[in-house]
Amino acid sequence: MRLAFVIYFVIVLFISSTASARVHTPPFAGQDTVRADRADTIAQSPPQLNTWSDRRIVSVVLSTLIPGSGQTYLGHTEKGAGFTLATLASGLITILSENNIIGRNERLDELKAQYDISTNYIGADTIWAKMVSTKSILDKDVRRRDLFLKLTVAFWVANLVDIVFFTDDKGERTFGLLETGRTTFALVPDPKNGVNACLSIRF
């Protein structure tokens, strides 16, 4: 298991050093931020796979802290959500399994104490059977924790590889504007009048 972590560590260090090397590539002017000209459109910038802007660096830092958030920041919301959910779900199962392991270890400690002070064979044998059963469940918890810990690290590393090598910047999206049509119709509940029908046409 330690070997696997060392391998992961080397991969992440490699990614980190690659990112550091690419950071020194000077971006061309005006690439960092692209502002929306119109309120109902999303500004698109050309793919920026081989150049590093402040947005790319921020996305890498974000993805390091919360897997998938960097992808979401760069505009790949579905991919980002996938990475976030997968990593968080694996991490949650890992934490739950770890919590179970701590609890089973404490249970084993308690049973050992009872076993040591038992004064008859039948009582000691009953406690021993409980210890064997607890140890069996503990081993399952350890296997589950190791599996999902590896999965968590794998998702995290894949997320970093993806944000560094395979995710382009879709550009900055103006906050608060939705991709709505020119004409919208909605029924809005009103406490005084019941329901208001709202028709909006944008010129």
């Binding site: 330690r2 972590f5 992961y8 560590f9 992440v12 260090l13 980190s16 990112a19 550091s20 950071v23 020194h24 590093w52 660096i57 890498v60 830092v61 390091t64 802290l65 770890e98 392991i101 701590i102 089973r104 270890n105 084993l108 400690d109 050992k112 076993y115 038992s118 004064t119 008859n120 064979y121 039948i122 000691a124 044998d125 021993w128 210890m131 064997v132 140890k135 503990l138 081993d139 918890d141 350890v142 924790r145 810990l149 690290v153 995290w156």
Partner: protein, 152 residues
């Protein structure tokens, strides 16, 4: 500025991996069980039916134990008549560890005598329980010994 960010990124990676590896709890191992050997087991539990000099029915119960294990003070003899349930066994006597040889028990109770039997035979079950010296540990009960005593 960017170099600084990259350094922060690398440090965060290191901290994350360190916490990930060091944060895992090691599972405890099982201890070596001692209750099997704290008190020597009862071995070769046997019985023989005979008569005393006065003509009474006698059941001689003998058993052996591992003499290399000195942690035994005595044995409890329990008996059950026509019933093998655990609660039916009644303690008969405490047999002290003999200075030499192996212990034995002579059972010439009235229930074994023919004149008190209401049936042609009775099933008698014996069980021997060793008692240790250290902590007065009550050891593993022997297997149940089945003896059929017939009316004569």
């Amino acid at each position: 500025m960017r170099t600084k960010k990259s350094a922060v990124f690398a440090c965060l990676t290191l901290i994350f991996l360190y916490l990930l590896v060091q944060g895992c709890t090691e599972p405890q191992d099982l201890i070596t069980p001692t209750h099997f050997t704290r008190v020597p087991k009862v071995l070769n539990l046997q019985a023989a039916i005979g008569l005393t000099l006065s003509g009474k029915r006698l059941v001689l119960v003998t058993w052996e134990f591992d003499t290399s294990n000195a942690n035994v003070r005595s044995w409890d003899i329990t008996r059950s008549l026509n019933d093998t349930s655990a609660g039916a066994f009644v303690p008969l006597e405490i047999i002290r560890k003999p200075a030499v040889g192996f212990p034995s028990y002579f059972d010439s109770s009235a229930v074994l005598q023919g004149q008190y039997m209401v049936t042609d035979s009775i099933d008698v079950y014996y069980k021997v329980i060793p008692n240790g010296i250290l902590n007065n540990f009550v050891g593993q009960p022997s297997d149940v010994l089945h003896v059929i005593v017939r009316r004569f």
